[in-house]
């Protein structure tokens, strides 16, 4: 260890109290930075997990893939993972269902395939061998599950073909077309109740049920592919190759850079005619995993960057004060060093080394504290995020977020130390030795206003004169207070906004359940409403029969309504919202108004 490093180390050891206070300031600052960085990574990962849960763990899906084509997907190096769902066939329901849903839709795959394509098991387990089935949770009768685990059912499985003899897969609505071609009859044991996390569609004609895949059975596959990182950067080219369409045309089409409408139609037709399979893009997952302009993840990073800059600025002032105190206390010692030949550079290095040594203790501890803080915060936010955004918050830390915290922390400490280092190096040796640079007084500035003496007495006068000694020193204190206030106000604003949003979502809704009738015909609407009421029972309910906006040319509005318009709670410009209530609801509303 060279003499200056040794000197710095001894100084830190000797002035233990000062060193500990500086370390605490560093720990708190780094903890805040780490907390923000790890909250961002936790939030991002939780968001990705949510997207995977509700939208599947794939970037592109291809439907209508014949079994013979599967190997080309499996051997494609651009694909990191491939999940295959086998469309086995349809079987009529024996019990349960409704006017729209009359069939079982049997899909085959492995547990891994199902998990990654949004099929979850809410009870029991996934089918693990031939003859096992997981029935859809939605297959109910008057709210009760039709099948229970352990039930044995016999299914007549048919292929549903369209007029051209092509297989229907996962059709969205039964419009009475197509023919059923019987495939096989088989006995299945119910081993689980499945739940599709992504929307299956209210009007799909069948309940998806999971069976263990049998490749020997007819039927096409839906292939769900996770692209590699490189492939994702080049996703349109990779997809075009899989689909067997023109790369450039597909690229232009996907990027919406097709030029004129005519070219767009031409390119669209070309792709539609030449593509081997139908495809869908999981845009949510792609945008969650890759940073794209205008994405919420980018906004999140931007917000975090602002918060980190605010924290860093506040921390620099806080830690800098500590280094300034150390530099002032050591001024004589720097003077002696300068007089025996230490260069400015050596003095600067000595102060910076002090920063590095304190960082070596403060930064790791700060990172640990920040992570612990995030862990607690994630637990607290768990319910809130689950309720509002259906995001299950998970504590997730990446090496990058730790490295970023370390780097930002080190930058904060080094910026804090650098001004003190400059100050220490600038001091003339003779002034430091004499110690007469500390007080800069000129007679004029020492004149104290009379009111100060009258109001605060002698102590006030002494304090006032003290502030006049060296304005620069007190400027740091004033700036620190200002930065702290700004930090406090801006953070309060952010948290208030979050709380207000939560209130908007939770408090302004005075109902637990909303049900929409699926008809507009007056007679069936009434029956439909009565059906809903019979299901819900005679509980507190409100019924809005119609809600529409009407235009009133010469609308006269009251002052109170005008206030509502100005506050953004109602519409303006002669538009009136007309709400029709049923008799009961109207009576309740009337009574509530008093």
């Amino acid at each position: 260890m060279n003499i200056l490093k040794k000197l710095t180390f001894q100084d830190l050891k000797k002035n233990r109290k000062r060193s500990i206070i500086t370390i605490i300031a560093i720990i708190l600052s780094i903890a805040l930075i780490t907390a923000v960085a790890s909250m961002v990574s936790s939030f991002r990962q939780s968001y990705i997990n949510r997207t995977i849960t509700y939208g599947g763990n794939f970037h592109y899906s291809f439907s209508g893939v014949p079994g013979t084509d599967l190997s080309t997907f499996e051997n494609n190096r651009s694909l990191e993972k491939v999940y295959k769902i086998h469309s086995i066939g349809y079987s009529p329901l024996q019990k349960g269902g409704n006017d729209y849903k009359k069939y079982f839709y049997l899909i085959g795959g492995t547990q891994e395939d199902f998990i990654n394509t949004t099929y979850q098991i809410s009870e029991g387990r996934y089918p693990q061998k031939d003859g096992e089935i997981a029935i859809s949770k939605d297959l109910t009768s008057k709210g009760e599950q039709v099948y229970k685990i352990g039930d044995v059912i016999t299914l007549d499985v048919s292929e549903w073909l369209d007029e051209e003899g092509k297989e229907f897969t996962n059709i969205s609505r039964d419009d009475g077309t197509g023919t059923f071609v019987h495939e096989f009859t088989k006995e299945y044991t119910v081993v689980g109740i499945s739940k599709k996390m992504s929307d299956e569609g209210y009007q799909t004609p069948a309940y998806s049920c999971l069976v263990y895949d049998d490749p020997a059975v007819l039927g096409t596959y839906s292939v769900y592919a996770r692209y590699t990182k490189q492939a994702l950067a080049n996703q349109y080219k990779v997809t075009a190759n899989i689909l067997g369409v023109d790369e450039d045309k597909f690229d232009l089409f996907m990027r919406h850079k097709v030029g004129s409408e005519d070219t767009a139609v031409e390119i669209y037709k070309n792709i539609e005619n030449t593509k081997k399979y139908d495809y869908t893009v999981n845009t949510f997952l792609i945008s969650a995993e890759t940073l794209q302009k205008g994405d919420s993840t980018v906004s999140l990073y931007f917000f975090a960057a602002i918060v980190i800059v605010v924290i860093m600025t506040a921390s620099v002032f806080c830690i800098k004060t500590s280094f300034d105190i150390a530099a002032t206390e050591n001024i004589r010692h720097y003077g002696v060093l300068r007089s025996v030949g230490a260069t400015k550079k050596q003095i600067k290095a000595s102060v910076r080394y002090q920063g590095l040594m304190l960082s070596a203790i403060g930064i790791p501890l700060g990172i640990c504290l920040g992570l612990a803080f995030t862990l607690v915060l994630v637990q607290i936010l768990q319910n809130l995020m689950q309720g509002i955004y259906r995001i299950k918050m998970e504590f997730y830390v990446t090496p990058i977020s730790i490295a970023a915290s370390f780097l930002f922390g080190l930058i904060t400490v080094m910026i804090s130390a650098s001004r003190s280092a400059r100050k220490a190096s600038k001091i003339a040796p003779i002034i430091a030795i004499r110690g007469n640079d500390d007080v800069k007084i000129n007679r004029k500035s020492l004149q104290t206003p009379r009111i100060m003496r009258k109001l605060l007495g002698v102590s006030g006068v002494v304090a006032y004169k003290n502030t006049k000694r060296d304005k620069k020193k007190y400027r740091t204190t004033v700036v620190s207070i200002v930065v702290s206030c700004i930090t406090f106000i801006s953070m309060s604003y952010v948290f208030n906004t979050v709380l207000r949003t939560t209130n908007d979502i939770y408090v302004t809704k005075s109902y637990n359940l909303i049900a929409f009738p699926s008809t507009t015909d007056n007679v069936s609407l009434k029956n439909n409403v009565n059906d809903i009421i019979s299901v819900l029972g005679e509980k507190d309910r409100y019924c809005i029969l119609n809600r529409s906006m009407i235009y009133v040319p010469d609308l006269k509005i009251t002052d109170d309504y005008n206030k509502l318009i100005k506050a953004g709670h109602s519409t303006s410009d002669n538009m009136l919202s007309l709400v029709c209530l049923d008799d009961d609801t109207y009576q309740k509303y009337y009574q509530n108004l008093g």
Binding site: I3, K6, V336, V340, G341, I430
Partner: protein, 223 residues
């Protein structure tokens, strides 16, 4: 052979009413191996003159040559290196680094130069200074005389061209003062070291080869 040459050296502190002329066009020179004493009353400008020769302060006017170099034509860092290698400074209040032990304080200028003091050389220095048994002690564990001897060791260790001693005995009793003066005289004789010593004690000044007397920032007598 001239080792130090001071020409028209002037130092003015403050401005306007508060202006103080600490040195007023002082010129003189010192030969290599000479022991020069500068005497004068408090406020006569002795310490200012010494600090200007050592390059730790800046003159208002005039030049200081050490060897053939004008030290105020150098950059600050060059002057720091010059101080480290060519000047040994001894202060009235020792100015040792309180958190370094005797041995570390003595070797400080050499270490700052990126070199190390050979153990034999250190041993010889500690023997001459009479600090061998105290080499691991911190300054606050030493007497005033011992601290001043450590500071003389720090000044001598680089074998500088000149030793500048600013009232080195001002804080010591007469017996210890004598020991310190003898130590300086010894280095002057044995190592042919040029010494400029400041004192207001004529008895100590008489040990020197030549005496310059300052009054109100001017040389009033030289013998």
């Amino acid at each position: 052979m001239e080792i130090v040459k001071v020409e028209d050296l002037t130092k003015i502190y403050g401005k306007g009413e508060a202006q103080v002329i600490a040195l007023d066009h002082v010129s003189f020179s010192v030969n290599k191996g000479e022991f020069l004493a500068i005497v004068g009353a408090s406020g006569s400008g002795k310490s200012t003159l010494l600090h200007l020769i050592g390059g730790v302060d800046k003159p208002t006017e005039g030049t200081v040559y050490v060897g053939d170099q004008d030290i105020y034509q150098m950059s600050e860092d060059e002057r720091a290196i010059f101080r480290r290698r060519q000047v040994g400074l001894i202060y009235q209040f020792y100015n040792l680094i309180p958190i370094l032990n005797v041995q570390e304080n003595i070797s400080l200028p050499v270490e700052l130069d990126g070199r190390h003091v050979e153990p034999e050389e250190m041993k010889a220095m500690l023997d001459v200074l009479g600090l061998t048994s105290r080499r691991k002690h911190l300054p606050n564990e030493l007497s005033g005389g011992q601290q001043q001897r450590a500071s003389i060791g720090r000044a001598l260790i680089t074998h500088p061209a000149i030793i500048l001693a600013d009232e080195p005995t001002g804080n010591l009793d007469s017996k210890t003062s004598n020991e310190i003066v003898q130590l300086l005289k010894q280095s002057n004789k044995e190592m042919y070291q040029t010494i400029i010593l400041i004192t207001h004690d004529m008895e100590i000044a008489n040990v020197a080869d030549r005496i310059i007397k300052l009054e109100n920032g001017r040389i009033v007598e030289e013998r």
